[in-house]
């Protein structure tokens, strides 16, 4: 099967065209680096018979599937292309975006290594930024593989006053060019048709000075019309304004927090009612059915009474397990992914990276690292995968460590908000303050000590784009399904394991063994080890278990902070191993454990008074800012080029 590679610069719409060609849904967004690994799919097209073009001028079968046989008959040919043409299946590969084929970032390396293996290259070019895209085009032409250029975002270019003479450009490069719009599907049929008839490029002998060559091409094919600033461009200017930019960024982050909290709570209430009305009767029936076997009853249903099921305390796999994932976590995840999807499509995330670049420098990395961290707020797994876009091992290590240590995923945040917030909203802010302080301190210490190349920000800024409802729904659906597939079984299995450990007395033995750490250092009841063990599988399940111990508000805050910090969940750990490899992952785990013990111990020794939460918030942040400032001064390692 022939391999069709979809290549191009980051954020030119390769994944959207991939979805159009193969029908496979992929996650797309408006910032460079969304695709960090390749996706494969299949596409079927009709290959035109030899001589067909001389009869119909190449206009037949533009979609590669239908063919205008009447036109051939008019020309006196007896056969139609439908009978002579061949049905061919291609393997289509969506390659991560790359600016060049001599790359430094891990995602770009994947792209470069794949090009030589492909049979046909579909090079997706952003029509709004032709000049920059041609750099990679000229590098790809050197491979002398059959190639077609999909000039994407064609409509947007026209809207921006950019006109491109496609025929001239095609002659200059020696390859066919199809104008496309990945979102609407315009040009896809023509592209399929060209793929099935792809030929090697006509050799144009470009000079060694790539940019001089590009300059010549651009001046002959592109025309720019002057036009006034649009409303969207004015908003873009505000979001990177020296004064309004940071204000907008902080307000946006605060707004996201409030929206997720407000609508999340609203949906949690709704889900609670739905569970009571539709799910509780089922659980009562199951409870009745299992009344003869107490073991299975405690595993699956747990403790329920006839007055109403207390889902959070029942501790049955089908009561607490299902309710926590679908009734508590899913609503918050749902709202967060709607907000994240909007920010991704509009193109705001790269602006946040620019605004926070200076802050990120304090922890020894640059602004782009904030994008993986933002993704980690939804789930740590895509967050860790996104570190592939970072160039140095040092940057990848620091970003991964501070992200996995201090950034709780939405599932964790949801149960955390629920568990801690029930004692008062101030305790939510205590956990947030603890995490921000650890983030700043840990990052500063790592930035100071971790050796390696220090890179600086060089990042393309995409224009703002209007989000489309279709893409939003498709991506939201994919993310929700992926969450449900991963969370529900793991939480259920986790609860069953803990129940078995309690039932058999194994948990008591482990609790006795780990009591010095759990009770003396963290100040928690020794049984809390059950939560930490289950947290290795799923942190949201661990918080559920915590709620079954009667902890004081401050103990709950300490336990939840420690749970967030101590170890990534199993899925994240596996991806960490893949991205950082064994040695660096072990170092990361060691750092996380040490940070947990130090933070937990500090929180444990504080007296539990009414003023403690307020004092903790102020002093922890102040302490982190001062220490990180001192480290910054001590570092004094100027950037050397």
């Amino acid at each position: 099967m022939e391999k069709v590679l979809l290549t191009g610069n980051p954020n030119v719409g390769k994944s959207t065209i991939f979805s159009q060609l193969t029908g496979i849904n992929t996650i797309t967004s408006n910032y460079p680096g969304t695709t960090v690994s390749y996706t494969k799919g299949k596409m079927t097209a009709i290959k035109r018979p030899v001589g067909c073009e001389s009869v119909c001028g190449g206009n037949c079968g533009l979609d590669g599937l239908k063919h205008d046989s009447r036109r051939h008959r008019r020309k006196g040919r007896q056969r139609s292309c439908q009978t002579d043409s061949q049905l061919i299946t291609y393997e289509v590969i969506d390659v991560p975006g790359a600016y060049r084929l001599d790359p430094t970032a891990k995602a770009e390396k994947i792209a470069a290594s794949m090009v030589s293996d492909g049979d046909i290259i579909v090079h997706v070019v952003d029509a709004t930024n032709l000049e920059r895209n041609l750099f990679l085009t000229l590098q790809l032409l050197e491979y002398e593989k059959p190639m077609i250029i999909a000039l994407n975002m064609w409509d947007e270019a026209k809207h921006k006053g950019i006109t491109i003479d496609i025929n001239k450009l095609s002659n200059c490069l020696g390859v066919p060019i199809i104008a496309t719009n990945g979102l609407s599907g315009e040009g896809t049929y023509a592209l399929v048709s060209e793929i099935s008839n792809a030929k090697k490029p006509i050799n144009k002998n470009f000079s060694k000075d790539t940019w001089k060559e590009i300059g010549k091409i651009i001046s002959s094919v592109q025309n720019l019309e002057h036009r006034h600033h649009t409303f969207s461009e004015r908003i873009q200017d505000i979001s990177i304004h020296p004064v309004f930019g940071p204000i907008t960024a902080v307000l946006t982050l605060y707004l996201i927090f409030r929206i997720v909290l407000y609508f999340g709570e609203l949906l949690v209430g709704l889900m609670g009612n739905l569970f009571e009305t539709f799910y509780s009767p089922l659980m009562y029936k199951l409870s009745e059915w299992l009344s003869g076997s107490p073991f299975f009853h405690s595993m699956l249903v747990g403790n329920i009474t006839q007055g109403g099921i207390e889902y959070e305390a029942a501790m049955g796999a089908l009561t607490t397990g299902v309710f926590m994932t679908i009734g508590i976590v899913l609503p918050y995840i749902f709202v967060f992914y709607i907000v994240l999807g909007l920010l991704e499509d509009i193109g705001y995330l790269p602006r946040i990276a620019i605004i926070f670049d200076k802050l990120m420098h304090r922890v020894g990395i640059h602004g782009y690292s904030i994008i993986p961290m933002f993704l980690a707020l939804g789930c740590n797994v895509p967050g860790v995968m996104a570190i592939r876009n970072l160039e140095s091992r040092r940057e990848r290590f620091i970003t991964a460590v501070i992200m996995c240590t201090t950034i709780p995923c939405m599932a964790q945040s949801a149960v955390m908000l629920h568990a801690v917030g029930s004692n008062g909203p101030i305790y939510i802010f205590v956990v947030i303050a603890a995490l921000i302080s650890v983030w700043l301190l840990l990052g500063s210490v790592l930035g100071f000590f971790v050796k390696g190349e220090k890179t600086a920000l060089i990042m393309e800024i995409p224009p703002y784009r209007k989000p489309t409802v279709k893409v939003q729904f498709k991506r939201l659906g994919m993310r929700v399904v992926s969450f449900l597939k991963e969370a529900v079984p793991y939480v259920i299995i986790g609860i069953v394991i803990v129940n078995i450990a309690i039932y058999t007395g194994v948990l008591d033995k482990i609790a006795d063994f780990t009591a010095p750490v759990i009770s003396k250092i963290l100040g928690l009841p020794k049984e809390a080890i059950g939560s930490f063990l289950i947290g290795i599988v799923r942190k949201d399940a661990a918080v559920v278990l915590l709620e079954s111990y009667s902890l004081s508000p401050w103990q709950m805050v300490t336990a939840i902070t420690a749970l967030i910090l101590y170890f990534p969940c199993l899925a994240t750990f596996i991806i960490l191993l893949k991205e950082l490899h064994f040695k660096d992952t072990m170092k990361a785990i060691l750092i996380m454990s040490t940070v947990t013990l130090i933070t937990g111990f500090i929180m444990n020794i504080l007296p539990e008074t009414n003023a403690t939460p307020y004092l903790f918030i102020v002093f922890s942040i102040l302490f982190a800012v001062v220490i990180s400032g001192l480290l910054q001064k001590a570092k004094d390692r100027r950037y050397k080029i």
């Binding site: 060049r100 950019i162 720019l224 670049d357 160039e391 224009p463």
Partner: protein, 73 residues
């Protein structure tokens, strides 16, 4: 003059870019090469990134790198 000392909205021609291979390759791929005409769109405070217009696109460059990009009016 280096780019960090430039003024907003004035077209500059790039005279030289850093020779460090990593930075050099990245700038080249984004259309920031010797002879390219660019203009500064925005300076972020406290020696934050500088946003420049190169061709029809925009690129953010950290202040430290901008100090090593020489431009002429």
């Amino acid at each position: 003059m280096n780019l960090s000392k430039g003024k907003k909205l004035i077209p500059y021609t790039i005279a030289s870019i850093p020779t460090d291979s990593l930075v050099n390759q990245k700038l080249l791929a984004l259309g920031i090469y010797e002879g390219a005409i660019i203009s500064i769109k925005q300076f972020l405070p406290a020696k934050g990134p500088i946003i420049i217009k190169a061709g029809t696109g925009e690129v953010a460059i950290s202040y430290e790198i901008a100090q090593h990009i020489n431009v002429i009016k």
